[in-house]
């Protein structure tokens, strides 16, 4: 490396530059926080039911098979647009009924097919989960996923 770049200079560039990028990153994060709350997730109110649904989602570790907005495990289908795929994004009652019917039918036990476990979920929790998935579906995700297959 050139003699002009001494160890001390390299160190100072490292510290100075890092602080600069941290500051920029914090500013953009703050702006993004505001954007999420005010714009991209504002299509449907974040009710207590939706929050409960998120808790149900987490308690059962759904993310370790499914993806949600493309993040998670790749063992089972994308869930972020599942309500659109089912055609019930704007129909809470039918959304609940389809979700409940699907979950009650698991595990399918079909040989050679990936098995979804049976989860002990109350009706209140199932309705909340359904609302949470509808809420996630209405998020402005910049047009992702490319199609309903997720």
């Amino acid at each position: 490396m050139a003699e002009i770049l001494t160890k001390t200079r390299a160190r100072n560039i490292f510290y100075g530059g890092s602080i600069f990028f941290v500051v920029v990153f914090i500013a953009l994060t703050a702006q993004s926080h505001r954007h999420i709350v005010k714009t991209s997730t504002a299509g449907m109110p974040l009710t207590e039911q939706v929050a409960l649904g998120k808790h149900v989602w987490e308690k059962n570790s759904c993310i370790n098979c499914h993806t949600l907005h493309g993040e998670g495990a790749y063992f089972a289908p994308e869930i972020g647009n599942v309500m659109t795929r089912w055609g019930v994004a704007d129909d809470p009652e039918t959304a609940y009924e389809i979700l409940d019917g699907w979950m009650q039918a698991q595990p399918s036990g079909i040989e050679g097919r990936r098995q979804m476990p049976h989860f002990e979920i109350t009706e209140e929790e199932m309705r909340a989960l359904s609302e949470f998935l509808r809420w996630a579906d209405q998020t402005d995700t910049q047009g992702w996923p490319p199609n309903d297959a997720g």
Partner: protein
Amino acid sequence: MKYQSQSVAKAYFYCAMALFGIQVLGGLLAGWIYVSPNTLSEIVPFNVIRMIHTNALIVWLLLGFFGAAYFLVPEESERELYSVKLAYLQLIILMVGTLGAVGSYLVGIHGGREFLEQPLWVKFGILVAAVIFLFNISMTVLAGRKTAITNVLLMGLWLLCLLWVFAFINPDNLSLDKMYWWMVIHLWVEATWELVMAAILGYLMLKLTGVDREVVEKWLYVIVATALFSGILGTGHHFYWIGTPGYWQWIGSIFSTFEVIPFFLMMSFAFVMVWKGRKNHPNKAALLWSLGSSTVAFFGAGVWGFLHTLHGVNFYSHGTQITAAHGHLAFYGAYVALNLAIFTYAMPMLRGRDPYNQVLNMASFWLMTGGMTFMTFVLTFAGTIQTHMQRVLGENYMDVQDSLSLFYLMRFGAGAAVVVGALLFIYSLVVVRKREVIQPGPAQPGPAQSVAGE
């Protein structure tokens, strides 16, 4: 080994290797479930096995980092550790927490944020352990000699421990949750862990090649500068499709493209140091792991990361087997292989022996690296087909998966090679064989002398 307290690292490395074994066996089982989906499906479902696979990985890598810090900081600072007892206490907390977490996953108690599923008490345990570690290691460094290696290592470890705070922040708003989740996940593996990796690699190069410290340390600062300059705003490549603003598509694409640079520099650094160095260090296995780590990290983290980081590509490939391919090779090259490099270097000294079982150890390198490379290719092909069928043609997820079964079968075979390699590696370090299989070659003429065991 110059300082008595360095022996703490031995306990850390043993625990790390035990969890490494659990991790790869969990991974093999998960790979088998892709082939034969009814396996254990009603007793231990896939999501639980995957939690064990990923969590065991994260903890053993951290244990390796902590152990490496306890091993190299006394030598760098030229003094004993501040407290050996605190170091053991920290290890006990981490092991109780980890085994507690695995146990509670098996009975169905866990959180639901990916990789951060640990029950709250375990998260607090990790926090306490991190505070103990930072206190212990900082007191040691502050009282002794300061070097660039300890500076960078400590900065990486301090920042990664501080970022753990985001593990406790879980907003009800899913998009906010995801954004802050990445403050742990991305800023660990694509920023702070790179600092730790570069520092450990710098230390290994210093010891193994005998190159002048000034040269090593200048490289080190340049490497970590490029790591943070690209990696911090590179977080943007996770903010394309989670509800964050559209400008991240440009920031993320541009800066995460630069994320290749630190990995390219680390690879160049390792090879240039070996060419420049005149030392013929007897621990060839440690050298192989060091060079292998930086090379595989360049391909796994650098090239395979770039493959799907531009937002126009990621729009189609996001959350497919492409991501899995990249994740496996990146973690293996950057963090698994680097940890195994420092274990290979330190263990013979910690156990008071010259390098031994090098052939088995080196065979384990080729088995694991070969297996991981094959797995990466297989998953990349699977992901390419998946992207086309599902994201372009819009075919149903499960139909697409059914057409990928041959790739999953080959992935299982690759995984089996990795597991055999991992067990062979552990055997080669844990079980003592006194006879050297290969005699060290003659030292090249030069000022630096080869000292066995240094």
